[in-house]
Amino acid sequence: MPVRVQTEDFDVGAEIARLREGNPKVGAVASFVGIVRDLNDGDAVATLTLEHYPGMTEKSLEDIVAQAQQRWDIYDALVVHRVGTLQPLDQIVLVVVTSAHRGESFRACEFLMDYLKTRAPFWKKEVTPQGSRWVEARASDDTAADRWS
């Protein structure tokens, strides 16, 4: 399964190793890890809670992975996204892509992150000294995703 939504943390090294295991045609692995920062929009962040839409979230991530597979000459792709309550320094999301040459895995990895950010149903709520608030969607994320269309 190229897609997982889970509350547990993930092991980046183990996930990369598993994705390319036994495929000697893989010459390139691009990966991305998203992490909770202690500051967002100028306010200290104590915790970040991620909500998703069970069923649709997995479906939309699988669809995004399938699009990447169609657009680039890649071998495998993995998306792991955590939900629940996290703290600064915690890992949120992992995207890994394998390919023969580096250009394809870089492109596909960034595409997966851009599409995931704007299309997969996840929502973030932050707890700050000013109380808790739902994170607003960013126009810059829409711009990033629009590059691929």
């Binding site: 839409y53 649709m56 939309s60 996204h81 949120i92 995931l116 299309r119 997969a120 149903p121 929502w123």
Partner: protein, 93 residues
């Protein structure tokens, strides 16, 4: 879900994130009122409940809708039996 659910005029409505909190519920079953045959008409109907419903689903609020877990638009038809979700723009990753 009942096997004949797609032939009823009942829909299952889900609310996520800010909407779930403001509306005070995460889901409901609704018998489609007469004349409600699109996502847009359903939103109009829900807005008539007033208060948070009027403001959260009102003009100027960015609300996304999915029908049977596919992104939908106000024109998307609904017949009954669907799972319809309302939520704010996504902020994952």
């Amino acid at each position: 879900m009942k096997p004949n659910e797609t032939h009823t005029t009942t829909v299952r409505i889900l609310y996520f994130a800010r909407l779930r909190e403001s509306l005070g519920k995460g889901e409901e079953e609704l018998v489609l009122p007469d004349g409600v045959a699109t996502v847009g008409a359903l939103a109009d109907f829900l807005r008539q409940r007033g208060d948070a419903w009027a403001s959260e689903l009102g003009a100027g609020k960015a609300v996304r809708v999915a029908v049977n877990q596919d992104m939908a638009s106000p024109d998307t038809e609904i017949k009954g039996g669907e799972e319809i979700a309302f939520f704010p723009p996504v902020t994952g990753g």
